[in-house]
């Protein structure tokens, strides 16, 4: 597997992202809380301002032909509920003339004559103030018209109340966020716990021992445990195959070696020189068998290795086959074997490992020559259809009976003991076919003997 990402801790990442999410929620909520705090502070103190202005309005009376204000003490005591705020006031008569109070109170930007009461913020005597303007219609015989009371208050109590609400809400919000973070921390640790318990049990566990990893009651984790156990079973079976192969191979090599040794011993003890050529020929035969066995073992190892490492290249199958056939014809010129080659279509380039493919076909040809009769007919035929490419080797030999064909594909299985077969040839072909994603079949040949067919599906074509 390629490490395209830097290694990271899932715990840190999950916690970090949760914290980020919580923080953004916190910010959004804070905005809401701020808005709420401002509104409630304004609402509360606007009511205070409203009541006080109402109370002042009550103090406006007509004396003779004059409107006069008897400023009620209660109005200011009410205003003193915001105990740190300055108070400014003004009373205007029906002509807009100043009755009493501060002469230059700030007016609202938009003045709406219709509404009896208006609230607005303004700046007065280098203080930010909240102002209320209240109108009342006087209709006495002497005086009639609208009178106005303007009352203003600085914002200290509002800010204090707003900050109070803000701090409390922030404290609560922060507490909740901290609790959520703690819960998350616990939950994430709990969720990741099986992972560490599995790795702990794996660390103390030998894969080669047949004991499976202990099953877990956690539903989310059991697929992992099952996968590990399946993997272990596969590994163990592969290991067993490997062991058997090594045991078989060493047995074969020892057998051949001891046979050669025996023949050598007999030859060296023989007193009759006339027997020597016969002994030599036997020794040569045994040695040939040993060489062939060694070659095939090495080829097998190579093919398996190349199949594992997937060395592929674009190759021209026709060229490879022709070359092989040429070599084969040259090597077997002394035999009465009739070779032929058949390819009716232009084949596309093939993605594969030319060396192992060569080795596979070569084995098939050798088998056909080796196990076939003296007068044989061998044909290489390349075919292509919608499903893929077939490489077919036909011979006119005795063939293999259908019931034995499957067995013939297993390693170290020789069907005729009389001949020097290693029993590895067909297994090499199978390995190559599998390495290329293809299949290997033994079938009846129209020539009377055996047909060996390698089938490669279209995916292998370039």
């Amino acid at each position: 597997m390629l490490m395209t990402e830097k290694s990271y801790s899932i715990r840190t990442r999950m916690l970090g992202r949760s914290a980020l999410l919580l923080l953004s929620i916190f910010l959004i909520l804070s905005l809401g809380v701020w808005h709420y705090a401002r509104q409630s502070a304004n609402y509360s103190y606007d009511r205070l301002l409203n009541s006080a202005s109402l109370s002042i309005m009550e103090g406006l009376h007509v004396y003779g032909k004059q409107v006069d204000l008897d400023l009620p003490y209660a109005a200011f005591e009410m205003m003193q509920l915001a105990d740190e705020d300055k108070v400014f006031y003004q009373a205007l008569g029906t002509q807009g003339e100043l009755i009493t109070g501060y002469p230059d109170m700030p007016l609202p930007n938009e003045f709406n004559e219709d509404s009896a009461i208006v609230f607005y913020n303004a700046h007065y005597l280098s203080e930010e103030v909240r102002v209320v303007i209240r109108h009342k219609r006087l209709s006495e015989p002497a005086v009639s018209g609208w009178v106005t009371v303007v009352l203003a208050q600085t914002l200290r109590a509002r800010h204090k109340m707003m900050n109070d609400i803000l701090y409390r809400s922030f404290a609560v919000l922060f507490g909740i966020m901290a609790c959520v973070m703690i819960v998350l921390w616990v939950a994430i640790n709990r969720a990741l716990e099986p992972l560490s318990s599995i790795s702990k049990s794996l660390a103390s566990h030998s894969l080669i021992s047949a004991k499976p990893v202990q099953a877990t009651p956690i539903q989310e984790v059991s697929p992992l445990v099952n996968a590990i156990n399946d993997y272990q079973v596969q590994l163990l079976s592969n290991l067993a195959v490997m062991k058997r192969f090594i045991a078989d191979a060493s047995h074969q090599i020892r057998t051949a070696q001891s046979a050669t040794q025996a023949q050598l011993d007999i030859a060296s003890q023989s007193e009759n020189l006339a027997d020597l050529p016969e002994h030599l020929s036997k020794i040569r035969k045994e040695h040939e068998r040993l060489t062939r066995l060694t070659n095939q073992l090495l080829t097998h190892a190579m093919v398996v290795h190349r199949g594992d490492t997937v060395v592929t290249e674009k190759m021209d199958i026709e060229r490879v086959m022709k070359q092989l056939l040429t070599e084969c014809v040259r090597d077997n010129a002394h035999r009465m074997i009739d070779f032929s080659y058949q390819c009716e279509q232009q084949l596309p380039l093939f993605m594969g490992d030319s060396i192992s493919l060569r080795e596979a076909v070569r084995n098939l040809l050798d088998n056909a020559i080796y196990y076939g009769p003296e007068q044989n007919q061998i044909e290489i035929c390349l075919q292509m259809d919608s499903s893929g490419i077939d490489i077919i080797i036909d011979d006119a030999g005795s063939g293999i009976p259908i019931e034995l064909r499957e067995k013939a594909l297993e390693r170290f299985q020789r069907l005729e003991n009389g001949l020097n077969g290693s029993g590895l040839g067909l297994s090499i072909v199978t390995s190559v076919a599998e390495a290329h994603g293809g299949e290997f079949y033994l079938e009846d040949s129209p020539l009377g003997g055996l047909r060996a067919r390698l089938h490669f599906p279209n995916e292998a074509l370039s």
Partner: protein
């Protein structure tokens, strides 16, 4: 009205020689105080401050309460003093409300009782009960009224004894007089009746406490109503001819209010001075050496000079706050003064 402006640079005898030699005082070492407080009542406090801060040259200007208010409002921004002191709490509050003050910094401010502090900008540093003063000789063998209630009835019953012999502040001219009269109206339900009694007794009105006390001591007056306790108690200690009564039903308490001017040129000196006034040392000096009464007075020592101790006195400190501005409203003031004149000075309105 004569402006009582006294410029003094208070110097202890030790530093006198040095300062005289230097002649000029550096501008940054000054502290300009405008105050409506008798210099001899506050002198010891200023001296104690001077000992603590010998480098600061004090400039003390004395005014009466209304003059002080008018001066501050009339003065250009460049000529504002550093510290303003007055017992007319209402006028002080209105100055602060109109933006003439800046906050006093320091921890001592937070420790003040809430009635003695508004916005940290104006601070009460004394505790001066409003008292009755009487001529001891005249009251020999007579019961001295100890409550407003008893005063009202005794004046009604002994009309001939009291007529032309009662004195009080002129609410029209004296800032403290106006404050006390209006607060009487706010606090007490019998103030109307009492004003009527005072009117019937043809009460004489004064602008200054000192003259009022002089007249009581000399026997020209027999009884003084609603006098500033600090000066009266101070005078009582020195002058055996007068007696002081702290009314037992309720005693208004005026606190001398101080603020630092927004345009103060010597802010750090001013901060130091105001913090000194409310510090333990400052309060000790006020309590023991000055004629003023400290913020947390030893009530027993105040009352001990009185004959009756079995009753607790209901002290009613006037809280600093915007409500004090109600009676400063022009229209309200006209109305109040008219009613006051009608009650107290029936002859003049006739």
């Amino acid at each position: 009205m004569k402006l009582l402006s006294i410029l003094i640079i208070l110097l202890t005898s030790k530093t006198f020689a040095e300062s005289a030699a230097l002649e000029t005082v550096r501008e940054s070492d000054k502290l300009i105080i405008y105050s409506a407080t008798d210099l001899n009542a506050i002198e010891s406090v200023l001296e104690a401050f001077k000992i603590q801060n010998p480098q600061i040259a004090l400039e003390y200007h004395e005014f009466d309460t209304q003059e002080l208010d008018q001066t501050i409002r009339a003065e250009s921004l460049a000529n504002q003093p550093d510290v303003v002191i007055s017992s007319a709490m209402d006028l002080q509050v209105r100055l602060v409300n109109d933006g003439y003050a800046q906050p006093v910094l320091g921890e001592a401010v937070a420790a003040l009782p809430s009635w003695a502090n508004w916005r940290n900008e104006v601070i009460g540093f004394t505790y001066e009960p409003i008292v009755f003063v009487y001529n001891k000789k005249a009251f020999q063998g007579k019961t001295v009224p100890l409550t407003h209630e008893s005063l009202a009835s005794v004046m009604r019953n002994e009309h001939d004894f009291f007529i032309h012999k009662v004195g009080s502040y002129d609410a029209r001219r004296s800032g403290i007089g106006y404050l006390v009269a209006t607060q009487d109206e706010v606090t007490s339900s019998i103030s109307g009746r009492l004003q009527e009694s005072l009117g019937r007794a043809r009460t004489k009105v004064y602008g200054h406490t000192a003259i009022l006390l002089d007249d009581i001591a000399s026997g020209k007056l027999l009884f003084g109503y609603n006098l500033l306790g600090s000066y009266s108690l101070g005078r009582e200690k020195r002058d055996s001819r007068i007696g002081v009564v702290i009314p037992q039903d309720y005693a208004l308490v005026v606190s001398r209010a101080v603020f630092i001017s927004k345009q103060a040129k010597h802010v750090s000196n001013a901060q130091r001075f105001v913090n000194f006034l409310i510090s333990k040392e400052g309060q000790d000096v006020i309590a023991k050496k000055s004629e003023l009464v400290a913020l947390f007075p030893d009530i027993d020592s105040l009352v001990s000079q009185q004959d009756v101790q079995d009753q607790t006195i209901n002290f009613h400190p006037i809280p600093l706050g915007p409500a004090l501005m109600v009676y400063l409203d022009d229209s309200k003031r006209r109305r109040f003064i008219k009613a006051w004149e009608n009650a107290l000075l029936p002859s003049s309105s006739e």
